[in-house]
């Protein structure tokens, strides 16, 4: 590992891409630690695919620099440790599923024997074993997507880029993708996941960055969020009244009353107990306290605006 990137799997600094007058990505700076599941979230057309393509060396940045697994962007040698599922995976449709995987395994640097041994294993992983010897010609979009995921994993890469991996998949397929991503995390791999599906990112990722109009507008550590991010709190009290709102003091904010529910926000979970104690002292007959973490969807809507609603 070279010193400058400090052990990051991905280190991008000020990457930009313009296509003629159009700016697809503006000043993209992000780091992804080794072993991390990183979610890249944004509406369609925000610059997610262009960003992933720059990190993979498929698209040449017009500005900035970066490294992937310690090597400059686009260095072929490091790609032996990289797997990539393109957004709309397709390949020669006369190949069978097994032939496709053996070919990609060999291209990724495996010996013929190793590629042949790995093909059934990854087919099993993506639940495609029954179709091992069928040609791609008859495959649905979801089946091609599963096969694309398998080819990205056949050489057990240290870093995996998945561009909209659940596109075209049914609920079972989406679950399979989540399980596969967790398996990769368990074996220590880093996963960079592009998606516009909030729930997918929320369930799977350790960290999330939001991209809008080619620019990262926020990032969020999911582990921190779940441990201390009980941001919205709802307290149900039989005798709730507007007068009680005055007892809600910082760090709690935004007190409001709706029927018998008192609502407020806190920056961290420990602050809830103080507010509830103050409400009880004010005579509130509290029957329920419901902390609600700000959902990714709320944050997404706040950041990208309703007009980009998914």
């Amino acid at each position: 590992m070279s010193a400058p990137n400090g052990g990051f799997a991905i280190d991008a600094r000020g990457l930009s891409k313009t296509f003629g007058p159009r700016t697809a990505v503006r000043d993209l700076s992000l780091t992804v630690k080794r072993g991390e599941i990183f979610g890249f979230l944004g509406p369609n057309g925000a610059g997610k695919s262009t960003s992933i393509k720059m990190l993979l060396g498929l698209v040449h940045p017009t500005g900035g620099q970066g490294s992937v697994l310690g090597a400059p962007l686009g260095a072929p040698s490091v790609r032996r440790d990289i797997g990539f599922l393109p957004e709309d995976f397709r390949f020669y449709d006369w190949l069978t599923a097994t032939e496709l995987l053996v070919l990609h395994g060999r291209l990724a640097g495996l010996t013929d024997a190793k590629a042949r041994a790995r093909a059934p294993e990854v087919l099993e992983l993506v639940a495609m074993s029954p179709h091992a010897h069928r040609r791609l010609r008859g495959f649905s979009k979801g089946m091609l997507q599963r096969l694309g995921l398998a080819q990205a994993l056949i050489h057990e890469p240290a870093l995996i880029f998945l561009d909209e991996p659940t596109s075209g998949l049914d609920p079972m397929g989406r679950r399979m993708v989540r399980d596969v991503i967790r398996l990769q995390r368990d074996r220590g791999a880093t996963v960079f996941l592009n998606s516009h599906l909030l729930s997918e990112i929320e369930i799977t990722c350790d960290r999330v960055a939001f991209i809008k109009d080619g620019e990262i507008v926020a990032s969020r550590d999911m582990a921190d969020a779940s441990a201390a991010g009980a941001r919205h709190v709802s307290v149900r009290a039989r005798n709730a009244s507007a007068a009680m709102l005055g007892r809600i003091a910082p760090p709690a904010t935004n007190p409001s009353l709706s029927g018998d529910e008192i609502r407020f926000d806190v920056p961290f979970e420990d602050a809830i107990a103080d507010v509830v104690r103050a409400l009880v002292e004010a005579g509130a007959q509290v029957v329920r306290v419901s902390p609600e973490r700000t959902s990714l969807e709320d944050e997404f809507m706040r950041l990208v605006g309703e007009d980009h609603a998914l």
Binding site: S77, P86, F91, L103, L107
Partner: protein, 283 residues
């Protein structure tokens, strides 16, 4: 990357490209057309032979007519090979870039130059086999029906294969710059220019116009494939047959060795430009 690893990667890419190329319908249509043309060619030759048998004829004149017909057969086979080369290969870069098929390959531990060279080798193998079959078939038919054989058949075969590889290089270069349709029209258009240039030079033998010669030379510089054919025609005819100016394949303007060297340099430069473009472009 070691030489061994590099050649391993090239073999993989060339192998899958050859298999992909061999599945193109256009290849089989072109082979079918070649078989049909050979059948027509065989009938025409046979009719000619029968016609000759009915009247007294000098063996010399008879030989000239029959070898002239052989040249027509070889020229047809040459044209078909060049068009087949362009049409089968035009999609391999432009099409795969457009469809995104290339993405899963270009992110493997392979350089873009290796992808392009591997693909070129795959198509070269297909083109050489195609030319060998159609060129060999034409000569075999002519020999079976009339007994004539071309002079320097091997040189002719190598030159026709070379002409196809020049066209293949042009197609690859255009494929790194344009969409499939644009690249295809461009490549066929250039071949048309070369075709016209070749005939202009040929006509200049009769008209003695220096301007027409110059125009022909310029077109041969723009696209040198047809001049390679004319050199092949020169190599395959007897000196006497070539000197008969009534033949469309008469040696009125024989491309020199320098013209062949130019064609080779042209193809090499374009191939390097294709690698450069492919490396620089976004996928």
């Amino acid at each position: 990357m070691s030489v061994h690893e590099s050649s391993r990667v090239l073999r993989i890419v060339a192998g899958v490209t050859l298999r992909e190329a061999a599945r193109r319908r256009i290849l089989w249509v072109a082979l079918g057309a070649a078989v049909l043309l050979l059948a027509i060619f065989a009938v025409a030759l046979r009719l000619q032979v029968l016609e000759f048998e009915g009247r007294p004829m000098s063996p010399f004149v008879r030989y000239q007519v029959e070898s002239g017909m052989l040249m027509i057969g070889l020229y047809t086979c040459d044209l078909l090979a060049v068009v087949m080369t362009i049409l089968t290969s035009i999609d391999t870069l432009a099409g795969e870039i457009g469809s995104g098929t290339i993405l899963a390959i270009a992110t493997k531990p392979i350089t873009r130059a290796q992808i392009l060279i591997g693909k070129f080798l795959g198509f070269s193998a297909m083109v050489i086999v195609y030319v060998a079959l159609t060129f060999g078939g034409t000569i075999a038919v002519a020999h079976a029906v009339t007994g004539v054989l071309p002079e320097h058949a091997l040189r002719g075969f190598l030159l026709i294969a070379f002409e196809c590889l020049v066209a293949l290089t042009v197609t690859f270069y255009l494929g790194t710059r344009f969409s499939t349709i644009t690249a295809g029209v461009f490549a066929l258009g250039l071949q048309g220019v070369a075709f016209m240039g070749g005939w202009l030079e040929q006509v200049s033998g009769f008209s003695q116009s220096q301007h027409i010669v110059t125009l022909g030379v310029i077109t041969s510089l723009i696209m040198p494939s047809e001049s390679v054919w004319r050199r092949a025609a020169f190599e395959m005819q007897t000196p006497l047959a070539g000197s008969l100016s009534f033949s469309p394949f008469a040696n009125v303007s024989i491309p020199s060795g320098a013209a062949l060297v130019y064609a080779a340099l042209f193809a090499t430069a374009l191939f390097l430009a294709a690698i450069y473009r492919f490396r620089k472009r976004d996928l």
